[in-house]
């Protein structure tokens, strides 16, 4: 309540309840240990950053997880719902050979990761059906140096080296051999059950 005196406004002393509450609030703010909170927050943040970096290093360079979808690797992999362990060490060391199921960046779109089976390494001769389902014609190619030939197990529904040719080995990102989900099929991808 401001008393009127000929148009001038005289500030009142902080004896009114709202102003007293205001100064109590400011005092309480000053009492909070901001420095200690900031110190704890930054150490927790640093710990979280270290944890995320460790997760990145492990999943990129040691062992990762993949969720393949699509019909191109039936019956070895389901159309959806499978969870596979991805070995990231083997491709870097060159421990990939014919018969392995690998994850690779698609040569048609590098943002897509595809799972296919390796049929031939560099120098191998690969014989493949040119038009599965319609004709029995096959063709034989020699895989060039540094490249691999990949094909989906389900040749009737797979976009693979028969369409985009042999792919450079540098596109291989991981090797998959174990399934960890669904529980009924836990184990090696190629287990005979």
């Amino acid at each position: 309540m401001i008393p009127k005196t000929k148009g001038k406004i005289i500030p009142i002393e902080p004896s009114s309840p709202s102003a007293a509450a205001m100064s109590r609030f400011v005092r309480r703010l000053a009492g909070i240990p901001w420095r200690q909170i900031a110190g704890e927050a930054s150490s927790v943040g640093l710990l979280m950053a270290q944890g995320l970096c460790a997760v990145h290093v492990v999943s990129e360079h040691v062992l990762g997880v993949a969720f393949p979808r699509g019909p191109s690797m039936l019956p070895a992999l389901n159309m959806a719902g499978d969870v596979l362990l991805t070995d990231k060490v083997s491709p870097r060391r060159g421990w990939v050979g014919p018969g392995d199921v690998v994850l690779l960046l698609s040569p048609e779109d590098p943002r897509k990761i595809v799972a296919k089976r390796v049929l031939g390494m560099e120098g191998d001769e690969v014989t493949y059906p040119v038009d599965a389902g319609n004709s029995d014609a096959t063709k034989t190619v020699v895989v060039p140096q540094g490249h691999i030939w990949v094909q989906g197990d389900n040749i009737y529904s797979s976009n693979d080296s028969r369409q985009f040719g042999p792919v450079p080995y540098g596109l291989v990102k991981g090797k998959m051999s174990y399934r960890i989900w669904p529980p009924s099929r836990i184990g090696s991808i190629d287990s005979k059950e």
């Binding site: 970096c53 040569p107 590098p110 792919v167």
Partner: protein, 212 residues
């Protein structure tokens, strides 16, 4: 000097093992060091050295993990070998005197590049080697081969790369267009030698017709 009583030195050793940090050891021992001379000094030395080694090991593992993550996802440092990008980047036979460049990895998120970028990529015929060349053709563009008057189309998901030093460059003119998935990063700056420090600009070679 009188010999310390046996049970007292055992208690000291037991509590030193419990603490395990250098500060605890030293402040525990200073009050006792006059009473138990040689025995406690040796224990302080062993505990101090072991905990220091442990903290050095922890720090180096953490630093290594953070360094690998930054180098994989954000920015990395590469030394240039080979003469295919002369004069933009030069190399000599010893890695110490060749150019050192900074390469960024943010471009690998969406694989969006521009014509004239200098990129790092894995050699298509040997995945262990990394090349540095300039991007000349993006996916879907038509490229004129410099030697003949052939015109070819760069397939989807691929790119055409050529070195600045055309005479000494093994590039797409020999091994064809490369899949974008082989790209490791884009070179943005030269950081060594000091006379060449600066940005690596997006440049179009003078004698080529730009695609449109």
């Amino acid at each position: 000097p009188r010999r310390p009583p046996r049970n007292r030195s055992k208690a000291l050793v037991a509590s030193l093992r419990l603490h395990g940090t250098e500060e605890d050891c030293s402040c525990f021992c200073t009050s006792e060091v006059q009473i138990l001379p040689v025995c406690s000094d040796r224990i302080v030395l062993i505990m101090g050295a072991r905990s220091q080694l442990w903290s050095i090991a922890k720090m180096s593992v953490t630093g290594g993990v953070i360094g690998v993550t930054i180098s994989d996802r954000y920015v990395t440092v590469v030394a240039i070998k080979g003469h295919s990008m002369h004069p933009t980047m030069t190399a000599t036979d010893s890695a110490l005197r060749g150019d050192i460049v900074l390469a960024e990895k943010a471009c690998l998120d969406q694989y969006k590049f521009s014509r004239g970028d200098v990129i790092l990529f894995k050699c298509p015929s040997n995945h262990k080697e990394v090349f540095v060349k300039r991007l000349i053709g993006l996916p879907g563009e038509w490229i004129q081969l410099p030697a003949s008057s052939e015109i070819i189309k760069v397939p989807q998901g691929h790119c055409w790369v050529e070195g600045d030093n055309a005479a000494r460059s093994w590039d797409s003119r020999s091994f064809g267009p490369i899949p974008l998935g082989l790209i490791n990063g884009r070179v943005t700056h030269i950081i060594w030698p000091p006379s060449k420090i600066g940005r690596v600009e997006r440049k179009w070679p003078e004698d080529r017709i730009p695609p449109f």
